[in-house]
């Protein structure tokens, strides 16, 4: 088939089946959003998990008189407590930096913190406990035992708050998986509908072209091309919509939940986008190809 006729046939068929083209476009836009959304969702969960998984269950604020050496000794003693998994020392400078980061993430005006100096922040110890079902009770118990220790100003048992956040994250993950599964079902249904409708529409054209002497490839190529074009365009628009909307959406959600994750915002890299587009093109070509059933010629007994 000459290129000029191929181009005409692709255009003609796309015009004749414009509703199918639109349906294929929408289906592949959904595919891109579901697949891309699933990957981004998994990465967002990991980001939130990292935040929750900082595993700081108890914070011990030390007196100003406790210097770095004493703080290290104190940390070493605490590491020997059986329920304590990890102890880290947070210096006043680091504490101020964290506050600035958190404030910025929550949208607090930077000028509010201008007057603060690191000297205002006490040196502190962050304790992570070993995983257990009664984590919050154990954190409270440890906090109670640490409060009378000399050099300790304040002890914060954070177990209950973190446990609550973890529950919310888990619930969010389940909801996300549910929504994605529902969207995936709708997408698969739409793709099957597009395939079957295309098959119905292509059968008569194929019969006519077989009679006129068109080759199998010449019969199937136009449908493959318009389907692949619709698929690629749909996937590109779906992917772009996802890319533009995901970060603001998750950012707003994090601000609402008070999550100040330090990990970078999740995004799809070029290799993933390229592989996805290649896959969509292949699926589009295959759908168009198999949606054009060729009539069988009776070739004798």
């Amino acid at each position: 088939m000459k290129i000029v006729w191929l181009a005409r046939h692709v255009r003609g068929q796309a015009h004749a089946h414009r509703w199918l083209v639109l349906a294929a476009f929408a289906a592949f836009a959904l595919v891109a959003m579901v697949v891309g959304g699933a990957r981004l969702g998994a990465r967002t969960m990991a980001r939130w998990g990292a935040f929750v998984g900082q595993n700081v269950h108890v914070i011990v604020y030390l007196d100003d008189g406790v210097d770095q050496a004493r703080a290290r000794d104190f940390a070493e003693l605490l590491r020997r407590v059986p329920t304590v998994a990890q102890v880290s020392i947070v210096e006043p400078d680091a504490a101020l930096a964290r506050l600035s980061t958190s404030a910025a993430a929550l949208g607090v005006d930077g000028k509010t913190l201008d007057g603060l100096e690191s000297a205002y922040f006490p040196r502190s110890l962050e304790l992570s406990l070993t995983p257990a079902a009664d984590l919050s009770e154990r954190a409270s118990d440890l906090a109670k035992r640490l409060r009378p220790v000399p050099g300790v100003v304040q002890v914060d048992a954070m177990g209950s708050g973190l446990a609550r956040l973890a529950v919310w994250v888990k619930l969010g993950r389940r909801l996300g998986v549910g929504v994605l599964a529902a969207l995936a079902l709708v997408t698969v249904g739409l793709l099957i509908a597009v395939f079957l409708r295309s098959r119905g529409a292509g059968a008569r054209r194929a019969a006519v072209l077989v009679q006129l002497g068109e080759t199998d490839a010449g019969i199937r190529l136009p449908a493959s091309l318009w389907m692949a074009t619709a698929a690629a365009a749909g996937a590109a628009v779906g992917g772009l919509t996802l890319a533009l909307s995901w970060q603001p959406l998750i950012g707003r959600l994090e601000r609402t939940l008070g999550i100040t994750a330090n990990a970078p915002f999740p995004s799809l890299d070029r290799a993933e986008v390229s592989a996805g587009m290649a896959m969509v093109l292949l699926v589009g070509l295959a759908m168009g190809y198999f949606a054009t059933p060729l009539p069988r010629i009776h070739d004798g007994a």
Binding site: K2, R204, G213, G300
Partner: protein, 264 residues
């Protein structure tokens, strides 16, 4: 141009064609007459490479189409203008687009295809229908459009099955005119009809008539008509099998792939 050699076909266990031999040369028109069920449509489907025989061979322009690979058959079919009894058209496309499609498959340029399609529509007096969508046409109009598509070009071989079924006297005259015009332009024309009025008209315009009865050519026990294969047409029944060479016009046949040559 086309040579069916001892072809037999069965359908649901019943013999539809029984050892039919028939040849149509360039610039020749043969009209196959017979009642319903006599095997006309099957014979024409074999000639148009739309079906393969259970036995026998079909030679088109020196190639045995029954031994060609399946992938090569489209290159045979695109040289044949086939008008089936139930016209196979694209209902959502315009009349002009339907006729152009056949020429596009043959590889004509868009401008040339449009010109040839208009000429073919003019030949069947359907020029005013060219922008109509096929689904809006009557059955008779669709037959004329299918005939225009079959003779557009014209191709080396035109095969028309019941081209005037269900049309009036005027349309019958148009069908006769279109088929004889294709013949005069050099095509081999094979038409089948149960309409004796159409057969009479085609014969009166130089066509040859053969009768098909229960899958056999009447009056020809094993061998049918092969009038143009010898310098002087032989009368029916006197044909003696001998070594013959089919006339092959490769330029007219187009891009047929290399294949086994016919008897030589």
């Amino acid at each position: 141009m086309i040579w069916l050699e001892g072809v037999s076909c069965q359908r649901n266990g019943a013999l539809v064609l029984d050892m039919v031999t028939l040849g149509v040369a360039r610039s020749e028109l043969i009209v196959v007459e017979g009642t319903a069920g006599s095997g006309k449509s099957t014979l024409l489907a074999l000639a148009a490479a739309a079906r393969m025989p259970d036995r026998g061979a079909v030679w088109f322009a020196g190639r045995n189409t029954t031994t060609l690979q399946r992938a090569s058959l489209p290159f045979v079919r695109r040289n044949i203008g086939f008008c089936t009894a139930d016209p196979l058209l694209l209902p959502d496309d315009t009349v002009l687009a339907n006729v152009i499609l056949a020429l596009a498959v043959r590889g004509e340029s868009p401008a040339r295809a449009e010109q040839l399609a208009r000429e073919a529509l003019d030949l069947v007096r359907a020029s005013e229908l060219e922008n109509r969508v096929v689904s809006s046409l009557s059955v008779g109009q669709r037959r004329l459009v299918a005939l225009a598509r079959a003779v557009a070009g014209p191709p080396p071989l035109v095969v028309a099955d019941e081209p005037a079924a269900g049309v009036g006297d005027e349309a019958r005259a148009i069908v006769t005119y279109a088929l004889t015009a294709a013949r005069d332009a050099g095509s081999a024309v094979l038409a089948a009809t149960a309409d004796s009025a159409l057969a009479d008209q085609l014969v009166s315009h130089g066509g040859r008539r053969i009768h098909l009865d229960q899958g056999r050519i009447a009056g020809a026990p094993a061998i049918g008509l092969v009038p143009a294969l010898t310098p002087d047409p032989l009368p029916l029944g006197t044909f003696q099998p001998r070594v013959i060479t089919l006339e092959v016009d490769d330029a007219a046949v187009g891009d047929l792939p290399p294949a086994t040559r016919g008897p030589s």
